[in-house]
Point group: C2
Chain length 199, copies 2
DNA sequence: GCATACATACAACCATGTATGTATTTTTAT
DNA sequence: ATAAAAATACATACATGGTTGTATGTATGC
């Protein structure tokens, strides 16, 4: 086949990534072959091996397209020393984004449910690890810490909030049609915040 | 090789399941071959195919050895209409069991992190689904429901508690050496209960 | 004219599943 | 009770396909 222009090449690269995302989501990472991805992208394996070293590299590139949506906002929260209500908004928005963005839905579904690879775990760690760090620092701000219940350290608060969050992600991704995350998000977030704050 | 006695056969069956649990935990389900499991069990693939129809059946049998530790106690909780403090004890114990029983640790680690199969998800659903059902019914008991915060329905309470729990499981299984689950368990449980109960 | 962006062809390897062999155990018939 | 028959609990051998990686071809953009 003929050589493509630079822009066209970049387009096929993206379509390969799209196809990988789709197939990984539908079948799981280990059970989808490069041949299947190639077919879904309308190319052959040759194209995949041209753009990516192997399946592993393709997988990582696919994950790399999604950035943790919370992270930037958490950094801003910390820097601006915003109120805890602002954090609550971030949390609600984050849950809603998972439920409304097909792209995020698929990638996080792959990360949580459709991969057993170590790089998948590493990616999870990279994503949630930084968030926990930022949350810890935020809860350490005296004005914020004072609002926490008596025996809750910043570390514990960050851990609990993050775990609660991951649990909601996880549970909902398993059965997204079973309950409405967008509707329940505020109530679910309120519960954990009530648990963290002093009464 | 010679035929074994009935008891011996049952022993090799168990050793195969043990080996599968070990290898699935260490390498993930899809990346461990039956050959590896056989070697780890000190037998050949012939023995595996004698006791199990295929890898899938072996995987299910391996999962079948662990029953949800919470379920029986939740049923009792509901039947005896015990106080919410009893539920809190169950939750703490459940977390502690994960951290102290190597067997539970491995199997849940496989379920949450080391499989991408649909049967893995189905098993998760079966395990946590019933718990949520029981929790819903329990929170529906008037005396219990009255202790919940104003706008929290029994369904929401069960969902939130279960999600919080799953999140803790998930986070800790990823990095079990990073923090001490046994120590933190009571505090983590207290947080979610404070969030659920009226102040 | 040379590097590019693929398609095509080829080699090699696991992993699975099944078929077969076999030494015992267990059962059955006498 | 004992010998023959049958079933058991595997090990071994083999056939197959699916997947990966690489090597090569090739038309075209630059």
């Amino acid at each position: 086949m003929a050589r493509k222009t630079k822009a066209e090449a970049e387009a096929t690269r993206e379509s390969i990534l799209d196809a990988a995302e789709k197939m990984f989501f539908e079948q799981g990472v280990s059970r989808t072959s490069l041949e299947q991805i190639a077919r879904a992208a309308g190319v052959t394996r040759g194209a995949i091996y041209w753009h990516f070293r192997n399946k592993q590299a393709l997988f990582e590139a696919m994950l790399g397209r999604v950035r943790n949506p919370m992270e930037a906002r958490l950094a801003d929260l910390l820097e601006q020393q915003r109120s805890i209500d602002a954090l609550r908004d971030i949390c609600v928005d984050s849950l809603r984004q998972l439920a409304t963005s097909e792209h995020h839905f698929r990638v996080f579904s792959i990360l949580f449910l459709r991969t057993e690879s170590d790089t998948g775990l590493a990616a999870q760690e990279e994503i949630s690890g930084r968030s926990v760090q930022l949350l810890q620092q935020y809860f350490g701000i005296p004005a914020v810490r004072n609002t926490l219940a008596a025996d809750i350290t910043p570390e514990l608060a960050a851990l609990a909030l993050n775990s609660h969050f991951v649990g909601i992600y996880f549970q909902w991704l398993k059965t997204p049609d079973h309950w409405n995350l967008v509707e329940q998000a505020p109530a679910l977030v309120d519960i954990i915040f009530r648990g963290l704050q002093r009464r």
